[in-house]
Symmetry: C2
Subunit: 615 residues, 2 copies
C-alpha cells in the first residue's frame, strides 16, 4: 500500500509494475540477497539492478522498508518513509527513475530502457575478474552475486542464443517455491549467467505471484493503463479493502514489517561481520594480495602513479595520438591494478590493449584485464558503467573510433550522469580518416560529446597532451596542476611584452597547422599566439584571470582550427573571429586530399588569418 | 582479379570479404536477382543490401561488371571499370564504403556496422505494405524481394528467437546448389523473413564456395590480416597464377564476362518491360489505384496538400506541441498516401499515430500504416531509412521522446547522409518533462541533433509553427514561403520605426517566456523584439539581408532562451549577448519547479534582460 500511497501523494510515478512485482522483489530483498542495510556500500554485497527503471517505486519502497529503523541512525542519502512522501519532488531522494547518485542503495542509473542488463553484466564481470585475481582456494573475499530484474517478454530464446542459462517460471500456485528453486539453480550454474523468466499475463484474473500482473489489486489491473499515473479514490479504497488495510493512514507501516526489517538489518550486519573476519584471515595469510585488494576497494591510487607516464621530447619520432594513447594506457596499467577494458573490435587500430595482462575469458582466464567486446559499442559502454559502479576499484576503459560513439551515446551520457568514471578512448577523430569516407568520418561528434554535461572531452595534439589527458581522466579525485588539467594553455607566442595581434586556437592534429601557420606569419613580423584548447569544459572552469591570460579580451582577432563541426567555437573566437570547421559529411579519399578539400592546410589557415589581420 | 587490381591501385580498401564472397555475390547478381542494369531505379527491382559495408568493393565490382557495356550509354553515377581505378579517391563514384548518394545501384548507406539488417527490413516492409495496398488478385505490380548480405557468425539461433526462418548452408562440394535451394526455400516462406547462414571458416584450406574464406586465393587467406590493405607483389603474382590470369594487364576483363553481362542486361530489360505491361493492364482495370500508385512511385505530392493542415487561432485552447503534431500528422495522412511510421512504444504519449489507417501486421494487415516498433529506437530509425530509400514514395515518420534519440543517433545521421527523408517526431523536449527526472530530460540533445550536417531541426512553439515544420519537412522538393521555412522570424516588436533596444530569441515552449517578458518590459517603455528561431540551420541559409532584417547587427543586446544546453547560441546573441540554457542533467520534480530552478520563468528572463539593458 506504500506504493499506492506514494503515487497518490505525488500525483506522479509508475505504480503498475511495482504492484505486480511486489512479492517477487520482497522475496529477493528479504530471502535471497545478501546485503547490509546499515552499510549500503559494503563491498561484498549482492548487487541488484532494476532494468525497468520506471518501477523505481518498487525499489525505493524496498529500500525504504529495509531501512525503516535507520531513521534513528540519521544516515544520509538513504530513502526513508518520509522520502516516499516526497516522491518525484524536486531535491528529494526519491526521483521518478532510479539515480545512483541521489539514493544510496541504488547501484546504477537505469532510467532509459536498455541499460539494465549491460550494467548488470558489468557488475558481474567486475566480480568475476576480482574474484579470479584475489580469491584463494581456502578463502573467497569476493563472492557476491548480481541479479537484474526486468519486465520479461518471451525472450528466453534470445538469451539462450546468446549463451545464457534460462529458466521459465510458470507457477500459478501462489507461492514462491518455483522462484526460490530457480535462484538456487542459477547460483549453481557458475559457467553462465542465468535468465529467469516471469511471464506477464496482461489479462490474468487469478492472483498468483510469479505470473506477474501489472497494477495488481487495482481496477486497472492487467491493463497498460496501470503503467503510470494515480488511481481514483474509489480504486484506492477498494485496493485497501482487498488487503484489509481499510482505515489506516496513508504511509502506514504495520509492526510486523518493522520486525521483519529489523531482522534483515541484523542479518546484514552479521554477513558483513563474517566477511570482515574472512578478510582478516586473508590479510594475515596473503598480505601482498590483501594490500592490493584493499587499495582497489578503497578506490585509491598508488602514490606516485603520475610519474609512470612515458616522457616524449622533440627529438622522438612523431606518433599518432592513438599511438601515444596506447603507450600511456600501458604505462598506467603498470601502476593502476584496477585498469580493465577493451575495444569494440578495433584494438589493433586504436591500440587500446593492455599487453601481458591477458584476455578476460570464462572459465579460462577471468583474471584477464582485456575484454573482447566485439562490435558492440552500446554493450561496451553499459558494461563499463557497471564495472565503474561496482565499487571494486576497477577503472574501465572503452575504445572505438570516434564516429561509433554514436552507437553508445546514451550510455556515455549515463557515465557522466551516474558518476561512473569511464575512460573513453575515441580515435580516428576527423575526416583525416581518409579513404573510408563519410560513414567513418566524424563531423558532429566532438560537438555532441562536448555537449554532454560534466563530461570532459580531451582532444590531445601530441604525446605530452595525451599523457596529460590520461592523468586528469584517471585521477578521480581532482584536477592536476599541469597545463592539460587547465583545459587550455599558450603553446607559443612571439609577442614578448606586447599583446599578440592575433590568436590561433587549435586542438588535436590541427594544432600543428596553427603552429605552422603562426611560424609563417611570425617570419613576416606578425605577433601571433597559438593556444591549445585541449579540453574546452576544463578551460571554462578556470578562474577569469587565467582565461584572460590565455585569451586576452582585447585581442579580438582570433581563428579556431578544428576538423569538425565549428559548433560552439564562437564562444572562444568571439564576434570578430573565424571558426574554421566542417559542416558536411566528409569524403572518401586520401587523408591529405580530404584535408585539403576542407581547407585544413597551413596555406589556408595562413590565408584566413591574414584576411582577418587586414580587416 | 578486379578486386585485387583495385586495392593494389588504390593502396586502400577492403579485399578480404570481397574475395571470399565473390562467387556468392556473382551468383546473386547473375542468377537470383531481378533488376535492370540500364535502369537502376526501376521500381520493381529486387533490392540488395550489403550489411558488411567494408566489402563494398565486392558490390562495386558487381555493379561494374553488370554495367560494363553501359559505358557507351553515358549514364551518370554508375560505377564503371574506370571508376575502379579511382577506388577511394576523392570525388570518385567508388568510395571506401557504399554510399547510395554517390553510386547508382547502391540502395542504402551501410558503412557503420549495425545498419544493414534494419535497412533491409525497412525495404522489405515497404514492399509488403505497398503490395498489400495495391496488388490485386489478378495482377501484382509490387513483387520484388530484398536480400541482405552480411558476414555471418553463428547467430542463427538469435534470428530464430526473433521469429525468422533460418537456413544454414554447410556444403563443401564446391557448387552453389545448396545456396540456390536455400533461396528457393526463402522465396517460398512468405510469412517470415529468411536468414541464410554461410559459416565462415577462418582456417579452411579446401576451396569451397559456400563456406566462405576471407581473402580467398591470397597468402593471407583465412586470416584477419586479409580484412583490408594491399597485397605484396609476390602475393598478387601467385593469386593471378592460381586463376591462370598470368600476364594480363590490371583491370582486364575477359570477353566471356562481357557476354555474360550483356545477357544480364538483356534479361533486365525484358523484366522491366514485362512489369510495364503488367502496369498497363493494372491501369486499365484499376485506374483509381493505379493513379495513386503511380503518384507514390513518382515520389509526388498531391497538389494542394499544404492546405490540408488545420488552422489555429488565438481563441483556440492551447495544446502541447506534441498535440499539435498529432493533429498535423493526421491531416497530412489524408493527402499523402505514402505516410507510414510509428513510435518506439510511446504513441500514446507523443501522439504519433495515424487514426483509422490500421497497424502494419503480417499476415493480417500489411496494408496498415502504423508500425508498432516496440522499445527499439535504433531499429525504428534504420527501418525508416529503408522505407524512405525503397523508392516507393513512402514517407516514414519515427517518433519517440527527444532523450531517446540517443539510441538511434547513428541512424538519424545516416538519414541525413543518405538523403533518406525521414520525419523524426521527438516530443518531451526539455527538463519540462518534470517528474521522470534527468534520465528522461534531454539537455544536450537539441545541440547534438542540430550538429548533424544537413539535418533540419525544428523546435516549434505553437500550432502554427508545428504545421509549418511539417510543411517544410514533408515537402521534399524545397522550402516554402512561410516564416517557418525561413527558420526564424520576428514574432513581435514594439519598436515601430526605430530599432529595438533588445532582442529576445526563443524556441519551443520558451518562446512564450520571451513574449511574457517582452510584454513586461514594453509596459516599462522598452523597445523589445521577440524572434523565434524555430530552425537555426534554415535561418543560417537565408540571404544576409533577411538575417540582418531579423537580427540587426547594430542591436548587440540579445538574450536567447532555450531550456537545453546553450551550445551554439553565442552565434546568435553575439559577444555582448546572454545565452540562457542548462549545462546540467536536470532533476525529478514537477515541471514548474524544475523550470523555476533553472531560471526559466518570466521573472528571471526579465531580470536577465534588464541586467543587459543597464550594462
Amino acid at each position: 500500500m506504500l506504493i499506492v500511497d506514494s503515487v497518490q501523494h505525488a500525483k506522479a510515478g509508475h505504480a503498475g509494475m511495482a504492484l505486480g512485482m511486489a512479492e517477487v522483489a520482497y522475496f529477493l530483498y528479504r530471502h535471497a540477497m545478501r546485503y547490509n542495510s546499515t552499510s549500503p556500500k559494503w563491498f561484498n554485497r549482492d548487487r541488484f539492478v532494476l532494468s525497468a527503471g520506471h518501477a523505481c517505486l518498487l525499489q525505493l519502497r524496498l529500500k525504504t522498508q529495509s531501512k525503516v529503523v535507520e531513521r534513528k541512525l540519521k544516515m544520509e542519502n538513504l530513502a526513508k518513509i518520509e522520502d516516499l512522501k516526497c516522491l518525484c519532488k524536486l531535491g528529494s531522494r526519491t526521483p521518478g527513475y532510479p539515480e545512483n547518485v541521489v539514493t544510496q542503495g541504488i547501484e546504477v542509473t537505469t532510467g532509459p530502457l536498455g541499460q539494465g542488463v549491460v550494467n548488470a553484466v558489468g557488475l558481474a564481470l567486475a566480480e568475476a575478474n576480482l574474484g579470479a585475481r584475489y580469491n584463494k582456494p581456502d578463502v573467497a573475499v569476493v563472492d557476491h552475486r548480481t541479479t537484474d530484474l526486468a519486465l520479461s517478454e518471451d525472450i528466453s530464446a534470445r538469451f539462450e542464443a546468446l549463451g545464457w542459462n534460462t529458466i521459465t517460471i510458470d507457477n500459478s500456485q501462489g507461492n514462491l517455491d518455483a522462484f526460490k528453486n530457480a535462484l538456487i539453480s542459477a547460483h549453481c550454474e557458475t559457467r553462465k549467467p542465468t535468465f529467469i523468466r516471469f511471464p506477464i499475463i496482461p489479462g490474468a484474473v487469478v492472483h498468483c505471484l510469479l505470473k506477474t500482473i501489472i497494477g495488481k489489486l487495482s481496477k486497472k489491473e492487467g491493463s497498460s493503463k496501470a503503467h503510470h499515473g494515480t488511481f481514483d479514490d474509489d480504486d484506492v479504497k477498494q485496493m485497501k479493502q482487498k488487503v484489509k488495510w481499510n482505515d489506516r493512514e496513508p504511509f502506514h507501516v504495520i509492526p510486523m514489517v518493522y520486525r521483519e526489517m529489523q531482522a534483515q538489518i541484523d542479518l546484514g550486519g552479521r554477513l558483513e561481520q563474517e566477511w570482515n573476519s574472512k578478510l582478516n584471515y586473508y590479510q594475515n595469510k596473503y598480505p601482498e594480495e590483501a594490500a592490493e585488494f584493499k587499495l582497489l576497494v578503497a578506490d585509491g591510487m598508488i602514490p606516485g602513479w603520475e610519474s609512470s607516464f612515458p616522457k616524449w621530447s622533440m627529438s622522438d619520432p612523431v606518433d599518432s595520438t592513438g599511438g601515444y594513447s596506447g603507450k600511456c594506457l600501458n604505462a598506467l596499467a603498470k601502476v593502476l591494478p584496477g585498469l580493465i577494458g577493451g575495444s569494440a573490435d578495433l584494438a589493433s587500430s586504436n591500440q587500446a590493449y593492455l599487453h601481458n595482462l591477458g584476455d578476460f575469458k570464462q572459465p579460462d582466464s577471468p583474471w584477464g584485464q582485456n575484454i573482447r567486446y566485439g562490435v558492440r559499442e552500446h554493450a561496451m559502454a553499459g558494461i563499463s558503467n557497471g564495472l565503474a559502479l561496482h565499487g571494486g576499484g576497477l577503472i574501465p576503459f572503452a575504445a572505438t573510433f570516434l564516429v561509433f560513439s554514436d552507437y553508445m551515446k546514451n550510455s556515455v551520457r549515463l557515465s557522466a550522469l551516474s558518476h561512473a568514471g569511464v575512460l573513453y578512448i575515441l580515435t580516428h577523430d576527423s575526416v583525416g580518416i581518409g579513404e573510408d569516407g563519410p560513414t567513418h568520418q566524424p563531423i558532429e561528434h566532438l560537438s555532441g560529446l562536448r555537449a554532454i554535461p560534466h563530461l570532459l572531452l580531451f582532444r590531445p595534439a601530441d604525446g605530452k597532451e595525451t599523457a596529460g589527458a590520461y592523468k586528469v581522466a584517471a585521477n578521480v579525485e581532482g584536477a592536476l596542476a599541469d597545463v592539460v588539467g587547465k583545459g587550455g594553455y599558450i603553446v607559443s607566442d612571439n609577442s614578448e611584452k606586447e599583446l599578440p595581434e592575433i590568436i590561433l586556437i587549435g586542438t588535436g592534429s590541427e594544432l600543428c597547422l596553427c603552429e605552422a601557420s603562426a611560424n609563417v606569419l611570425r617570419k613576416e613580423g606578425t605577433r601571433v599566439r597559438v593556444v591549445s584548447l585541449v579540453c574546452r569544459r576544463l578551460f571554462d572552469r578556470q578562474p577569469r584571470d587565467y582565461k584572460e591570460f590565455v585569451l586576452p579580451s582585447s585581442v579580438s582577432k582570433r581563428v579556431s582550427v578544428e576538423a569538425g563541426l565549428p559548433l560552439g567555437w564562437k564562444e572562444y573566437v568571439g564576434d570578430e573571429g573565424i571558426a574554421t570547421g566542417i559542416d558536411d559529411f566528409g569524403y572518401s579519399g586520401p587523408y591529405s586530399e580530404v584535408f585539403n578539400k576542407y581547407g585544413f592546410t597551413e596555406e589556408n589557415v595562413t590565408k584566413t588569418t591574414k584576411s582577418l589581420l587586414t580587416k
